[in-house]
Amino acid sequence: MTQDTIVADKLTYHYNDLIAVDHISFSVAKGEILGFLGPNGAGKTTTIKILTGQLKPKGGKVILLGMDVAENIERVQSEIGVCFEDTNLYQRMSALENLDLFARLFGIKSFDAYALLKRVGLAGREKDRVEHYSKGMKQRLMVARSLVSQPQILFLDEPTAGLDPISSEAIRNIILEERKRGATIFLTTHDMMEADKLSDRVAFMNQGKIVALDKPDKLKQKYGKRALKAKVSGKNGALESLEIDLDTPQTPEDIHNLFKKENVVTIHSEEATLEDIFIKITGRGLTE
């Protein structure tokens, strides 16, 4: 039996007249990665702020690890790690000093900062001031900082945004390692491929509401359209595109006819992406 480590119940938050989070409810099981997707302004960051105790919800409540966040803020925060979207490191301190400071704030007496920095690929640069780091290095240090206390819940807000492929891959590997360790991970991202690859379930957020929440495959089954796309040689030699829907009773006959009647140049199957599904559900793109 899995235990829910994050339970959000009818969370509501508004900035004056603007409703940022509108009665959302969801839960995340221990060791699960929940991808939280939505365009800018959808309410993702406000949700993270509420979950991590930075904001008090105007309505509803959050239970983390069985504790009400509003009533046990310090106990809850000792069990979570947060990686912010914007770089917020102490620039005039070294990576080592940044990690040591946070270890002390968490009350950790024995802490191997070198090992953690090696894990995120910053070995050899431990004593350099952060202001001399590249964006990718800073982001890896942000992830390392969120891991200082070996948290039970990890909140990662766009951890790979704007990074080069190598840094992004390094961070994805760390996310998977943390899940293996048993951490529950709440991940917001714009990168659909990343969400698809890492998340056990994804939640789509739009205009303060969760409009869909399920496993990526199930969402694809429910909302997506599987198709076969082919390029065939036309009568005058020009390439023409054909698409065959894979989920109709007519599909076997259509495929048979394709190969029988057309000169097929290329053929590949296509399934809906999370972005396609998001657009289908909300009528807007994730990057809007």
Binding site: T52, G53, Q54, L55, E74, R75, Q77, S78, I80, V82, F84, D86, T87, N88, L89, Y90, Q91, R92, M93, E97, L101, F102, R104, L105, F106, G107, R145
Partner: protein, 352 residues
């Protein structure tokens, strides 16, 4: 309170402060510059006598002395003009002769001569001027007790307690020095908000109380150490050192609370400097009153630093004890509580 957390935060703040070249520069430059300013100021008092005179009728003997050039009199058209000149420091003493002086001399009555003295006129000036007026009356009438003298001090009576300008100035220099740290602290907090590091701190088990305690300790200790060091070097602790140090400590807490308020309305380092200079100028006003007695009126009592400057001034320059300054300290404490509390509340809102 978690002292381990507070210690870590204070160490972090000190590291960040001194790794910022600008803060380090203004801290070192501040101490060095203010020490230089103090030591180049004259250490003695200029006791040259200057007298203003209001006389509707000038007795012949006064005219003779004026013409002879033995004493410099500057004649004013009215008694009010004379008083203003003395109050403004144009003369250390002023003499107002009554309009009927000659009639009274003639009838054997004693005219009343009013003497005005500036607040910081030396004690001996009073004796000299009074003796001189009696001598002139004697020369005029040939009688020893021919006038009555009425003396009035314009402004607070510090007669005989005059102090060199640099000792008046050291108070202003010390307070301006520790106020510089108020600006440094405000910038440091603004930087934390601007760079988002405060958000990273607020999602750790650290409590907000620990955060403010650390900022208070850091800001107040940085300011206090500099102020105390400066006062020790310039001899400001030679009289009532415990009162001076206690007042400096309170001042440092006051300025730290003010730093919180400045940080709460600032968006970045530049705006915190702008607000900081504005507050610094307002807070400096009472210390100008110490440097130039009579220039600051009672409205300065609305400025919290009035009670700080007055305490340090009285203790270090006039050897005032706890019994003399306890009301000032109480009022200062009340200001501190309001400002620190207001600063914390304003910053808490900003941190959200």
């Amino acid at each position: 309170m978690n002292f381990g957390v507070i210690k870590a935060l204070v160490a972090k703040d000190f590291a960040l402060f001194f790794r910022n070249r600008f803060y380090t520069l203004i801290t070192i430059l501040g101490i060095v510059t203010y020490l230089i300013v103090y030591f180049v100021m004259p250490s003695s008092v200029d006791e040259e006598l200057e007298i203003g005179l209001y006389a509707p009728v000038i007795p012949p003997v006064f005219e003779v002395i004026q013409q002879g050039g033995g004493i410099e009199f500057e004649v004013y058209d009215s008694e009010e003009a004379l008083k203003k000149a003395v109050t403004d420091g144009a003369h250390e003493a002023g003499v107002a002769l009554p309009a009927d002086i000659m009639e009274k001399f003639a009838s054997g009555l004693k005219p009343v001569v009013t003497l005005y003295f500036s607040t910081d006129a030396p004690d001996e000036i009073k004796d000299i001027v009074e003796t001189m007026i009696r001598e002139l009356a004697y020369l005029q009438t040939g009688q020893t007790l021919s006038i009555e003298v009425s003396a009035e001090i314009l402004g607070p009576d510090l007669l005989g307690e005059q102090i060199p300008i640099r000792d008046r100035m050291r108070l202003m220099l010390a307070i301006m020095l520790i106020m510089l740290e108020m600006m440094g602290l405000a910038s440091l907090i603004s930087e934390e908000v601007e760079q988002g590091t405060i958000r990273a701190l607020l999602v750790t088990p650290m409590s907000i109380r620990d955060l403010f305690a650390a900022k208070l300790i850091m800001g107040a200790s940085l300011a206090f150490v500099q102020g105390a060091l400066f006062m020790a070097i310039v001899g400001g602790l030679s009289s009532q050192p415990f009162i001076v140090l206690f007042a400096l400590l309170l001042g440092s807490i006051l300025f730290t609370g003010s730093g919180f308020l400045i940080a709460s309305v600032s968006k970045d380092m530049l705006s915190s400097m702008g607000w900081g200079i504005t507050v610094l100028l307002i807070f400096s006003i009472p210390s100008f009153g110490v440097m130039f007695p009579g220039t600051v009126t009672d409205w300065a009592r609305a400025i919290p630093t009035y009670y700080l400057t007055n305490t340090i001034h009285q203790a270090s320059n006039f050897n005032a004890g706890w019994g003399d300054i306890w009301t000032d300290l109480l009022i200062l404490l009340a200001f501190i509580m309001v400002i620190v509390w207001g600063g914390i509340m304003a910053l808490r809102r900003k941190f959200r």
